[in-house]
Symmetry: C2
Subunit: 337 residues, 2 copies
């Protein structure tokens, strides 16, 4: 079974489960509130459709991990929904915190309904995730449900830690690559690690298998983030297409930038002088590369990818879902730089 | 045991448990984040102290209910903390949504650290509540913990419903008292009902006792809110002391206002003409009273108080904690109007 084949029946199941969870708010009196959530999820309103939904990578990862433990993926469906709800809660609040007006090509929730309602929409998505995880009760022994809830909630606390660090870095001038790892560990990596931990717990994997999957998700998240940072400066669209979208313009303190700042050379000097205009992007990206940041970032990404792959091999994923997992890791990590 | 005596040893236990829960964020890298939470809780920063902490009515209600079921109040301590964390999460987000600069006499979290960090502080308090409830695991059978978590999460969803309604009413011109009950049911009443439901569940009360306590908390919350609405217009400080703080000036769509609007008389006419100045407050409050709103509100409050009292009697609270509960209801509901 290819990833495409798996997605063809897993993705509709994910959407149905998400809709079922969010329907808790579908009552006459709170219908407009329900609509704010269905809009964000990409089901209703202007521009609704697959593009507006995102890739649902996280719930897919939960279901595939569960199936690769030789179990029925349905055993992890409420957990897959819970993870996607958490992810979307964090997106809705992120967009408010960053003042982002667009998400997946559409107006963000707060732009449409204002920040006060936007905050409440994020809160509701978060609550729904805690309810979704308890829907595991009819399918699993209660001890397992408690452990799954614990994994989910710990991840959510990691998210708030990562978010705090991310926001505090905006105003901090001295940052090291250590700071970077703490922040990324709390954000992208924590959620992906949680997907695999939940999938293997609910797929009845043994302790060592669960640990291997947890590591897989963790390194996958790190590799994914570092790759994203690389593309944010040297990716096609960042250099040529839309240089205004370069991380150098948005002043994102990504891994290559922190590396460059650590070098204290011409790049660091230019960075400290203030905002970078889209016109300068191409030259400054080249300068940063000449100081070794591109190579360092690529090597770091490769290293994390290798660790992810090793962990996945250790987990020994079974059957067609296992093949799909290997395909997923390749698809996520080998993108054109 | 009087309420005062009970509070003397319950309140310190509540603070210790809350501090223990929030200490999950007390790590070198996230120390300033941890401080944002301890500031809000009234433990650190300018103006820290009992005044800044609020009355901790909700956790007190959990512990007293548990004890009044003839159980050790310690059996419900993590749940008491969870409820207070939820309450404080909603306060932090509320203050951002309402643009309120002061809370319990001090600057609000968002005023001190900005709205983006403020949103994240609220999120963290929320996550911590979900972790606190799982701390019941060593004390209770897992089935009971799952039920407790379910009660907590359902209440949180009610809170977001109530918050949605509250915010949407600000811009809606036609509102009835029915709309009022839905909103208040989701906010104040849901949380107080949840306190009593959790206390009696964890205190091992039988089904009918749990139901009676749930009703008690529900009506207590409604009575409390209606009383608050009454004081917001005809309370001493609203009329004479600080007329700028009258609900008539803030245009709060409280029960007496909705009653007055329904009458469609001189009050409704004046209200529809726009903002009310502090100078007009005294006359307009009198006009509203002359249209029957004060009597109606007082009668409604009395009715809800009676229902709360009846439910409490039905629950048959035991021992000194029971006495303290009766004292609490009197203290909360019989305030000078």
């Amino acid at each position: 079974m290819s990833l495409k084949e798996a997605s063809a029946y897993l993705l509709p199941a994910i959407e149905t489960e998400l809709q079922r969870q969010i329907a808790r708010l579908d009552e006459p009196r709170t219908r407009p509130f329900h609509e704010m959530l269905t809009y964000h999820m990409g089901w209703t309103g202007e521009g609704a459709g697959p593009e507006a939904r995102g890739k649902r990578i996280r719930p897919l990862l939960v279901l595939l991990t569960c199936a690769a433990c030789d179990s029925d993926w349905r055993a992890s469906l409420p957990a897959a929904a819970a993870i996607e709800l958490v992810h979307n809660f964090s997106l809705v609040h992120d967009d408010i915190q960053d003042n982002s007006e667009k998400r997946r090509g559409r107006e963000t929730v707060w732009v449409k309904w204002g920040k006060p309602q936007g905050i409440n929409v994020g809160d509701a998505l978060f609550v729904l995730s805690t309810q979704a995880i308890l829907d595991l009760v009819p399918i699993h022994p209660v001890e397992i449900v408690i452990r799954a809830a614990g994994i989910l909630h710990n991840t959510c606390l990691d998210l708030t830690r990562g978010q705090y660090l991310d926001m505090s870095y905006e105003t901090r001038s001295v940052l090291t690559t250590d700071d970077y790892w703490s922040m990324v560990g709390g954000k992208t990596a924590a959620l992906l690690a949680s997907c695999c931990a939940l999938g293997s717990l609910l797929g009845d994997g043994d302790e060592s298998t669960q640990k291997a999957y947890l590591d897989f998700g963790h390194y996958l998240g790190l590799a994914f983030q570092v790759q994203d940072d690389l593309l944010g400066i040297w990716g096609d669209s960042a250099v040529t297409g839309k240089s205004s979208e370069s991380d150098l313009v948005s002043r994102k303190k990504s891994l290559p930038v922190l590396y460059g700042l650590g070098k204290n050379g011409p790049f660091a000097k230019r960075w400290s002088e203030g905002p970078v205009s889209p016109k300068e992007v191409s030259d400054l990206a080249e300068q940063l590369a000449s100081e070794g940041a591109r190579l360092y970032t690529q090597e770091t990404s490769d290293q994390m990818s290798d660790l992810a792959l090793q962990s996945l091999r250790m987990a020994d994923p079974k059957g067609q879902a296992g093949d799909a997992l290997f395909e997923l890791i390749n698809k996520l990590l080998i993108r054109e730089a």
